[in-house]
């Protein structure tokens, strides 16, 4: 059995999972902080 599809599949899972988590956390933080700043300026 060729092991490389399994190895690459596992790495893809880790990269996509961690990358997605980081992007989601970053986007929600930026959105919430921008909303708080715009409210403060009003």
């Amino acid at each position: 059995m060729n092991p490389w599809p399994f190895v690459l599949g596992a790495y893809a899972t880790a990269v996509l999972g961690t990358g997605g988590l980081l992007l989601w956390a970053f986007a929600s933080m930026r959105g919430a902080e921008a909303a708080a700043d715009s409210l403060k300026r009003r």
Binding site: M1, P3, F6, A10, Y11, A14, T18, L22, A25, G31
Partner: protein
């Protein structure tokens, strides 16, 4: 710990810390994964599939550490009523659930060529799956509690009760000797050869920094949201 009870003081530290953790985490995680994929030799028994170790072990550690963070935040909330404890607990949950999920999936992918099966109801695998479901329960419960304006005490109790699963996961390979191998990395040493082991600290530290960055970003988002809600309430009352 109480030094950080003031949200303004916490944010003064959290803002630069987020950027540093993201930068260091990305550099170390990418370097460790690249080294694990290209620079280490194949294992004499497992062959190339041993490379999954460099992502599976950090995700298992962070899946468990995430619940450790929830348990610590729960104690801090229930005992000392730390104002940021409930927010910290809620911030740990999505990151912990993601890494527990990555651990389960990468373990399953490793199991197919190594054990000949995607899944086995073995002590370690089952207790890790339970941890994943505990995370989903915590996320739902803490979210519902926040929506209803609760102080997060119910989810803190749930977080403490769920921590019982952590020693079960850790000792499962000793208590039920089934398919998952025993402990190969301990506090006193390792059974893994150094030619294979060296990228692992890079991914361990790298993913841990990324985990910490996600927790800080979630806390910052929730603090900002709380500020907006308080402002809107004041405006509506005026």
């Amino acid at each position: 710990m109480h030094f950080l009870a003031n949200p303004a003081r916490f944010l003064r530290i959290a803002r630069p810390a987020t950027a540093w953790l993201l930068t260091i985490g990305l550099i170390l995680a990418i370097a460790g994964m690249a080294a694990g994929l290209a620079l280490t030799p194949p294992d004499y028994l497992q062959g190339e599939t041993v490379r999954i170790l460099y992502i599976h072990v950090p995700s298992a550690w962070l899946g468990m550490a995430g619940w450790g963070g929830i348990a610590a935040a729960s104690i801090s909330q229930l005992v000392w009523r730390h104002p940021l404890a409930a927010i910290a607990g809620r911030a740990c949950a999505p990151a912990g659930a993601t890494f527990a999920g990555i651990c389960l999936i990468t373990g399953s992918i490793w199991g197919r060529p190594t054990w000949g099966t995607w899944w086995e109801w073995d002590g370690r695998l089952t207790s890790m799956l339970i941890l994943f479901f505990l995370y989903l329960g915590f996320i739902a419960l803490a979210g519902a509690e926040r929506e209803r304006g609760g102080d997060g005490r119910i989810s803190a109790i749930y977080g403490l009760v769920g921590a019982i699963n952590l020693p079960i996961i850790h000792y499962s390979v000793l208590w039920w000797r089934t398919l998952h191998q025993g402990e190969s990395i301990g506090l006193t040493g390792t059974t893994i050869d150094s030619s294979l082991l060296w990228p692992l600290p890079l991914t361990m530290v790298g993913f841990t920094c990324l985990f910490a960055a996600v927790v800080l970003m979630r806390m910052r988002a929730e603090l900002a949201r709380t500020k907006v809600e308080a402002r809107l309430r004041r405006t509506a009352a005026a």
